[in-house]
Amino acid sequence: MRKKILKFGLHLALTGALLSAYASVVDADLMQVMEDKQKSLSSNISLKNAKDALADAKELEEMFKEVGTFYEQKGNASDAVTWSKESRELAGVVVAQAIVANDFDTASRKSVTMAKNCKACHQAYKTTD
């Protein structure tokens, strides 16, 4: 019996930790990292540093995935989910492809679109200025 209680308690703790991990993934620290990464991407595109720009784009793709998952689970945030999805595609596909093709002009413009999505989401969901 004691073992069952301990097992159940452990299961609860793990589930709580997992939910907590998703619940806390979108916080000010992640947003700061994403903002810094966007600036790095913009800089590397401007410098035509394809290798580092691609790495930045792929990292941003993963982070937008986390943001999208967070808002999906949160619920009642369909626009945030849409922005995340669009930005994920912009980072991982559109910008990345442009960089690979050495089309840095397109990469630059599309990274601006991505940054604007961030702004739109902040306008709706950022809790502090």
């Binding site: 966007q38 600036k39 991407l41 401007s46 630059s108 990274s111 601006v112 702004k119 709706a124 200025d129």
Partner: protein, 478 residues
């Protein structure tokens, strides 16, 4: 590590060229042609494509006017005046109005008329600007961040909410150089006894070399402090001193060609020397006609100070100054009417501030048009944010970063048009919005500069005026 040993290391490591890169618009490595820029960082530079505009006159209305009381006519707001703001209009915005969100406010003194062929709406507060309706392109879906004046003014001028970024004028100065070697290429004007409250960070060069910062011209006959030669020193003595200083600085500069601060210092002494004559002449209004002075409101106490500043702006435009940043000063010396920030008593506040600027701005537009300068000049009417549809303190309005109006007039602009709109009560922008970065990108475009390619390498990172944002609003371009 000394400059010499650092230079040796870079050259031996084969990084000499790479270490000096990024000073040119568009970045990249130094070429032989770049050597001349080291000698004169303000040497004229070619834009990315043909420019429509040679000079920008940036009219900052300090304190944030209510464009709902100037340009953005809202019959629905008038109909709903005195009622609570319907919930649908508050969606997506967070307020922190002192005393809470008030009822929708409309002044019973306000009247509206359409003007010009464009049929643009103007209120009774700006009857003179209204005569130039067809010279103006309105941006009615302007947005920004609206924490406090200082932060939003900083964002208006530099694109950043923290100090450290170059102002738009500094970027223009950096990217295009000077068109008149006897005057600063970037000048700040104000009609106040002290410098604009938000401070010199708003015309700073930020991380760009110091030579690109704005130069504030003080009101009065002598625009620059300590510019005049001391009485006890003759012109020859001054010239000899400057020549010695130049020889010493050139010698040092030859050892450290990458030291842009030293280059700036070299240039500034020579420019200051030339400005002893050119700066007072540029702001000397004594030779302006009586009709011109009357047009700019110099004969009226209410308009004299701002009119003087705008007449100076026109003279600087004639003399090839590239970016003229004009900050509106107090309509009334002390108290709550010092600027447009009407949290209360909006009618009194805007009555005085509008009277101060209306006639001079109209005169500037007419004067530029008449002289042909409007064909190569861009006038931007702007502020750090707008004001809310809901009232504050009963008869004022709070800050509104969610939707307000700015306008542009002059070369390359699709005049007589309006881009964007606010909702039916003028609270939030609807449709495509125009953020500060977009305004900057559009201004740069008119100057022949691609904002995405106007870059500077700062600590290994390529920076541009629009940070990571910015979109040229093509609908505003002729």
């Amino acid at each position: 590590m000394t400059n010499n040993s650092r230079r040796d290391f870079l050259l031996k490591a084969g990084l000499g060229g790479a270490a000096l890169s990024g000073v040119l618009p568009g970045g990249g490595f130094f070429s032989a042609a770049s050597a001349a820029e080291l000698v004169d960082p303000l040497a004229p530079k070619q834009p990315h494509f043909p420019a429509k505009v040679k000079t920008v006159i940036w009219l900052h209305m300090d304190g944030a006017p209510s464009t709902l009381d100037l340009y953005d006519y809202k019959p629905e707001l008038i109909r709903l005046a005195g009622q609570s703001v319907p919930d649908s209009f508050m969606k997506g915005i967070k307020t922190s109005t002192q005393g809470g969100v008030g009822k929708l406010f409309v002044s019973n003194k306000r009247s509206w008329k359409q003007h010009g062929e464009s049929g643009a709406w103007f209120s009774d507060l700006v009857p003179n600007i209204a005569q130039h309706a067809d010279k103006i392109a309105f941006i009615k879906s302007s947005v920004t961040v609206g924490a406090t004046h200082d932060i939003s003014i900083l964002k208006l001028n530099t694109g950043g909410v923290n100090p450290g970024r170059p102002s738009l004028g500094a970027w223009v100065n950096y990217a295009l150089g000077s068109a008149n070697k006897d005057l600063p290429s970037y000048v700040v004007l104000y009609n106040d006894k002290q410098e604009p409250r938000a401070g010199s960070v708003n015309w700073s060069s930020g991380f760009l070399p110091a030579t690109y910062q704005g130069v504030a011209f003080r009101p009065g006959d002598s625009p620059i402090l300590h510019l005049d030669r001391p009485e006890l020193m003759s012109a020859n003595e001054q010239r000899s001193s400057l020549d010695l200083l130049k020889r010493l600085n050139l010698k040092e500069s030859a050892r450290y060609p990458q030291d842009t601060e030293l280059q700036a210092r070299l240039q500034s002494y020579e420019l200051a020397s030339r400005m002893q004559k050119s700066a007072p002449e540029a702001v000397d209004l004594s030779k302006e006609s009586a009709a011109t002075k009357e047009a700019y409101g110099l004969n009226d106490e209410a308009t004299r100070s701002y009119g003087t500043v705008l007449l100076r702006a026109r003279r600087l435009t004639e003399r090839g100054v590239r970016f003229i940043q004009v900050v509106s000063g107090p309509a009334v010396e002390d108290g709550e009417f010092r600027n447009w920030d009407a949290h209360s008593r909006l009618d009194d506040n805007h009555g005085k501030n509008a009277r101060m600027v209306d006639k001079p701005i109209a005169a500037l537009l007419a004067d530029l048009k008449q002289s042909g300068l409007l064909d190569s000049t861009l006038v931007v009417w702007t502020s750090e944010f707008g004001r809310t549809s809901f009232g504050e303190s009963g008869d004022g309005r709070d800050h509104n970063p969610w939707g307000y109006t700015q306008w542009m007039a002059g070369a390359g602009v699709k005049v007589g048009t309006t881009f964007g709109a606010t909702d039916d009560i003028g609270l939030q922008a609807v449709g495509k919005t125009v953020d500060t970065y977009d305004l900057h990108a559009t201004v740069l475009q008119l100057l022949g500069l691609d904002h995405l390619k106007t870059t500077f390498l700062n600590d290994g990172r390529s920076e541009r005026p629009t940070v990571v944002y910015g979109e040229v609003i093509k609908e505003l371009l002729a």
